[in-house]
Each structure stands twice: as C-alpha cells, then as structure tokens.
C-alpha cells in the first residue's frame, strides 16, 4: 500500500523535486505551496503523513499544524525547517507534531519518518475502528 503524503512548502522548486523523488520511491504525493490550500486538502482527503515547512509567507507552519490537529487529531505531521531552534522544536512537539527535521534532509531519513508515520496512523485508525466497533456492539443490542 503506497504511502499517501502531502508536501507543503513555499519553495516550488524544492517541492516539485522532492515530490518526484518520492513518487519514484512509490509514494503517492500531493503538493501545495500555500498553507491555506493545505488546510483545504486535509479536510477533503486523508493523508498518511504531511510534511510541512515551518516558515511560510501566509501562515506560520505551527499555525497550520494547530489547525490540522484540531480537525484531524490522527493526522501525522512532520515539520521541515531551514532553521531549527530548540524552542520551536519543543513547541511543535507539544502541538502534536510527529517530528521536526532540519533542511537539507536526506531523502532516506524522510522516507523512514513517513513510513513510521504511516504505521502510527494505522495503529491510530485501527484503534479508532476498534473503539467504534466496541461502541456499536455495546450500544446495539442484537
């Protein structure tokens, strides 16, 4: 099952290249340069992992992270940044980011993280499904 990934970054050149490389590795990649578009996309579809740039013109990466987490808590988000500070990293982790990686990044590292994210998401989704089934079993008296 291919990993479904959303890439959000304001550098288009970077975005396209990374997307192509990931696709070569068998991932299903969507891209956007706009934070707002990213929000819309996450509402419409589900992704195994979202790779998010921390610094973007319209909206701060952390804000996007907050917004997504509010709606879809099971969404796995990896933050990518040109300049990582400990402070920002801690803030991101507190807000529920899965990881915090500094640019430039080795594709292998990123792929691993994405796979990890997918597994995590699977667990979460399964747990959710199990909970749902449990609920249904408990509530419906067949």
């Amino acid at each position: 099952m291919p990993e479904k990934v959303l890439l959000v970054d304001d550098e288009e050149d970077f975005l396209e290249t990374l997307a192509e490389r990931m696709q070569v590795r068998g991932m299903e990649v969507s891209t956007t340069t706009s934070a707002r578009e990213a929000l819309i996309k996450t509402e419409q579809e589900s992704y195994d992992a979202i790779v998010l740039d921390l610094m973007m013109p319209e909206m701060d990466g952390l804000e996007v992270l907050k917004a997504i987490k509010k709606k879809n808590p099971e969404m796995q988000i990896i933050l990518l940044t040109g300049h990582a500070t400990v402070e920002k990293g801690i803030e991101a982790m507190k807000l529920g980011a899965m990881d915090f990686i500094e640019k430039p990044v080795e594709l292998e590292t990123l792929t691993e993280k994405i796979k990890e994210a997918q597994a995590q998401k699977l667990i979460l989704v399964e747990k959710q499904t199990a909970d749902k089934i449990k609920k249904i079993i408990q509530s419906k008296a067949w």
Binding site: T17, R21, P57, P104
Partner: protein, 574 residues
C-alpha cells in the same frame, strides 16, 4: 618611572579609547583642576585677607604707639629744658629788679650773689653788669673780663630790643661751650643796664645724656641754623652741623618720619623751645623700635606659609583621591557598558546567523533534492537522461548556489562594516542593506516595510557599523512589537541646521505611558520571558549618542510606536 610619572595620578592622561566623542562624561583633568582651584580660592582668600588685615592693624597700632611714645618723651624733655632755662632767667630777673645799681657795682656783694646763685641753682659760671655802652662795669668770675667792651657783640645788639636774651651755645674766649643769659633793666629815667650771666652747658648735656631713649635713640639740642648745641651720640659733636634738615617751626611737639644719611628710616621728634634759639630733637631708629614687631611679623608669615602649604597639600591630596575614585568608578561603568554592548553585539550576530541559516538552508535543500533526483533517475530508472533535462537540473542547482552566494556576500559586506569607523554614508543604502536581513521575516509575517528616503539627503560622514547596529536594533524592536500583517514606515527627512531625522514608525502594540520613560534604561524589558535581554534600546541609545545623534520615542498603547533619530550631517569635532 620618573618621580613625576609616579606622582601623576592615573586619570591625568586617561582617555577612554572605545568611547566616541560624545561619550566622554567626565574630563578628569578639568574636574581635578576645578576642584583644586575652587577649594584653594575659597580657603586661602579668607585666610590671607584676615592675615593681611591683622598685619595692617597691628603695624598701624605699633607705629602709632611708637610715635606717641616719642612725642611724650620730647614734650617731657622740652618741659625740663625750658624749666631749666626759665629758672635761671627768672633768678637773673629777680636780681635785676631787686638789686640797686650800687649793689651790683659792689664786687663783694656781686661775688656773694654769684656764690648764692651757684648754690641755689647751679650752672652759673660768671656774672657781669654792662652799661648801655656795652662796657662791662662789674664782673665776678674765673676770667679777668672787667672793662670788656661788648658793644660790637651780636648778643648786645639783640638785647637793645628785648628784655631777655638767651644766646646759642658758643665757645667765646673761654674755649668751653657755654651760653649767655642776659636781662635788661630799664630805669624810670629810660636809661638801662644789662645783667649778663654765663651758664655752663654741662647741666644741659647731663640732662640730655641721662635721658633714656630707646631704639638707639639720640637726644640733643640744635639751634635754628642746625648747629648742634649739645653733644650727640650718633649725630656729631657740639657745634657740628646736623646732617638732618632743620625741622620747620611748630609751636607744639612734632614727630616726623625721615631718612638718615645711611638711608635708614628714622623717627624725628622735635620741639621748638620758646624764647630760646633752641630746638630739642630726639631721633630714633625706626627699624630697631620695630624689631619686636618684625619678629612677630616673621612668625606670622611663617605660620601663614606653613598653613598655605598644608592646605594646598590637603586640597591636592583630597582632590586627587576623589577624582581617582570617580575615574575608577567611571572606568568600571565603561567596562560594564562595553561588556553589555558586546553581549548585545553577540545577540545581534546570533539573530543574523539564524536568519542567514534559514536563507541558506532553503537553497541547499533544493540543491540536495535536485542532485538526489538526478541520481534517482540514473540509478532507479536506469535510462539515459536527456541532456535538456540535465541542463534544467544544472540551471536550477546553479540558481540555488547563486542564492547562497548572494547571502554570504551580503553577510560579509555587513560584517566588514562593523569595524570601520567614520566614512561617507548613503543613508538609503544602509537602511536597505539592514532591512534585507530581516526581509524574510517581514515576508513570512506579512509585515509591510516601507522606506521613504528623499533624494535630497546628502551623503554624510558617520560610523556605518554603528548605524547598521542601530537600524538592526530598531527593526528587531519594531518586529517584536508588530503583529503579523503590521506596518513599519521608515522615513528620512532633512531638517534644518544640518540635521537629518530618521523615523521608525510601527503600528504595533505600543508602549504603556508608564514604561515609556524607561525604555532606554538598561535591563528594562517587557519581553524578558520571550528572549529579550532588555539591552537593545539602551545600547541603541548609547550608539546614537556616540555618533553625535539623539533618539526620542513616542508611543500610544495599541496604536504604535515611533522612534526618531536625529543625526548631524557634519561629523562631530572630537
């Protein structure tokens, strides 16, 4: 080290090398000089004037006392002498009234009379009766002078007009100093005769020589022509002419000041003895009289000199100590200021590094991905890449490299200016250069930065590095105050009197009025929780002062803050 070098306090040549021409709070040498001068004037002027006044007062009182003493001595002595002469004259007067002419002509009677006179009064040598023709008709005395003709003698001519005559002291035939007292008796028939007595001046001499005159003084008698009538101690023998001028006539005792032949100051007390040709003179050496006073004066001057020296030493010592302490404190203040400045510089460098890292990492990431993709295509797809695609990749990589190079170049350019001092400044260029560093942040946070520099701003000399730091600090400050989407307007205006003003106006959160007065204080920060050091604005203030400018702040809570810097277009004279 020479003695001078050892004595010279540290502050004398002290100069804070790091301080700008406007940072010199104290000129220690000036402070020291002022302190010494003021305290010296304030302490020494009253002391010296008191001593001078006292000196004058005591000198005057001592001088007047000496004059008074001399005057008293002169008048006492005059009284004695005139009494002596009056006594003898009165005796003769009595005789000439009492005796008949026959009695005078009787030699025995006359001898007895002379004997009685000698016993009763003393000093008489001889006595004679002279007829109106000047012939001595009767004579008693040690010489054979009976029949002597006095008609041509000057004293006889004098007595024709006066009742009493007292002569100068003279030698006469006798070769002994003596004087003549003559009284005339006019009979009822208008005829007259003269009684003439010679009086020894020994009595005189004794009188005067027994006088105690202080100050190497001298008491003697002169006649109106200035001839000495009695021997003197220092002013010559009898009949010599006195070296001093004859004092002018005065009915009363007088004391004058004059100079003797040796040029020394003397006090001359004199009195004209009435009805005689005599002037009594008492001459004293002023220097000797004043000796005790001179001794006191010497002590006074010595005391004054000692006090002045001690006061000066204390003043110089205390001033040096205090100024040294001020200098020490100032030195410590400057050191801590430098430390603070340095840490602020480090902080700005840190901020710069952060921005630069972010900007470089982005193109690096692109290069990374592009090369990765090239490799992917070659390895995974195992096909031949078309050269056009390869060229595309290469172009993209080159563009990213160029981006990195531009950033590093800009950073180098910025860093290079930090050390350089006064040089011509293009204000527009400096402002834009500084904004470039914060440009990304502005872009990310949608802060609109507008710069308005009119073209009539001339180039001017200033410290570029300091200006950059000032602008960077203000920019950081504004960004911290602005919320995303805020505005920052930087306006440059030429003011009159060779001034240029730069205003950084933001529409951020503003500063509460109670904090406004303290924003330039060190360690005052409302952002301490968010990484503010509280030093940015205080250092900015210091930097502006160093390049001769002025910084003011206006703010309204919720509406924004504006910082205004005024800089001189001409470099300050150092």
């Amino acid at each position: 080290m020479s003695i001078q070098g050892k004595l010279k306090p540290k502050f004398w040549d002290y100069q804070d090398v790091a301080a700008g021409p406007f940072k010199r709070l104290f000129n220690f040498r000036r402070i020291w000089m002022l302190a010494v001068l003021l305290t010296t004037v304030v302490t020494l002027v009253p002391l010296i004037s008191i001593i001078l006044i006292d000196y004058k007062v005591t000198q005057n009182s001592i001088e007047s006392e000496i004059l008074l003493r001399t005057a008293r001595l002169v008048s006492n002595t005059r009284r004695t002498i005139s009494f002596f002469l009056t006594e003898r004259r009165s005796a003769l007067n009595f005789m000439i009234q009492d005796y008949t002419l026959e009695e005078f002509k009787n030699p025995d009677r006359l001898a007895l009379t002379l004997e009685n006179l000698k016993k009763a009064f003393g000093g008489y040598i001889d006595i004679g009766l002279i007829n109106p023709l000047g012939i001595q008709e009767a004579y008693i005395g040690p010489y054979q002078l009976e029949g002597q003709d006095y008609s041509n003698e000057w004293w006889f001519k004098e007595i024709l007009y006066r009742d009493v005559y007292i002569s100068d002291v003279f030698m006469g035939f006798r070769q002994v100093p003596h004087l003549i007292i003559a009284v005339r008796h006019t009979q009822p028939d208008k005829s007259f005769y003269v009684l003439r007595a010679t009086v020894d001046t020994n009595k005189f001499d004794q009188l005067l020589s027994h006088l105690e005159v202080d100050g190497e003084g001298d008491a003697f008698i002169i006649n109106h022509q200035g001839k000495l009538q009695t021997p003197s101690r220092y002013h010559g023998k009898v009949f010599e002419t006195l070296s001093l001028p004859v004092p002018s006539y005065s009915p009363r005792t007088q004391v004058l000041e004059g100079k003797n032949a040796k040029g020394k100051t003397i006090l001359i007390g004199y009195a004209y003895i009435s009805e005689t040709p005599f002037i009594l003179m008492i001459v004293k050496q002023k220097d000797i009289l004043m000796k005790p006073w001179y001794r006191t004066r010497l002590q006074l001057i010595g005391f004054l000199a000692a006090s002045v020296i001690i006061i000066l030493i204390v003043i110089v010592g205390v001033s040096t100590y205090l100024v040294s302490k001020i200098q020490e404190a100032d030195y410590k203040r400057i050191i801590s200021l430098h430390e603070v400045e340095y840490s602020n510089k480090l902080a700005s460098i840190g901020r710069l590094a952060a921005g630069v890292a972010h900007e470089i990492n982005n193109p690096l990431a692109i290069i990374n991905e592009k090369t990765g993709l090239m490799k992917d295509r070659l390895i995974i797809k195992k096909d031949q890449i078309e050269s056009s695609t390869l060229i595309d990749f290469a172009d993209s990589i080159l563009a990213s490299v160029e981006r990195c190079a531009a950033i590093t170049n800009r950073l180098l350019g910025f860093a290079r200016h930090i050390d350089v001092s006064i040089r011509p400044i293009n204000l527009k260029e400096v402002i834009h250069e500084t904004i470039d560093f914060q440009g990304k942040e502005a872009e990310y946070r949608s802060i609109e930065v507008s710069v308005d520099v009119p073209d009539d701003i001339p180039q001017f000399e200033s410290d570029r590095g300091k200006l950059q730091q000032i602008f960077l600090n203000l920019l950081n400050n504004a960004f911290a105050a602005l919320s995303d989407g805020g505005h920052l307007n930087i306006t440059v205006r030429k003011e009159k009197m060779d001034l240029v003003s730069i205003t950084f106006a933001d529409d951020g959160c503003g500063i509460p009025a109670e904090d406004l007065a303290r924003v330039f204080e060190p360690f005052f920060s409302t952002r301490t929780m968010k990484g503010g050091t509280g030093l940015g604005l205080s250092i900015t203030y210091g930097l502006v002062q160093e390049i001769g400018g002025n910084i003011t702040v206006q703010s309204e809570l919720g509406k924004g803050t504006s910082f205004n810097i005024t800089l001189p277009l001409k470099p300050p004279k150092s």
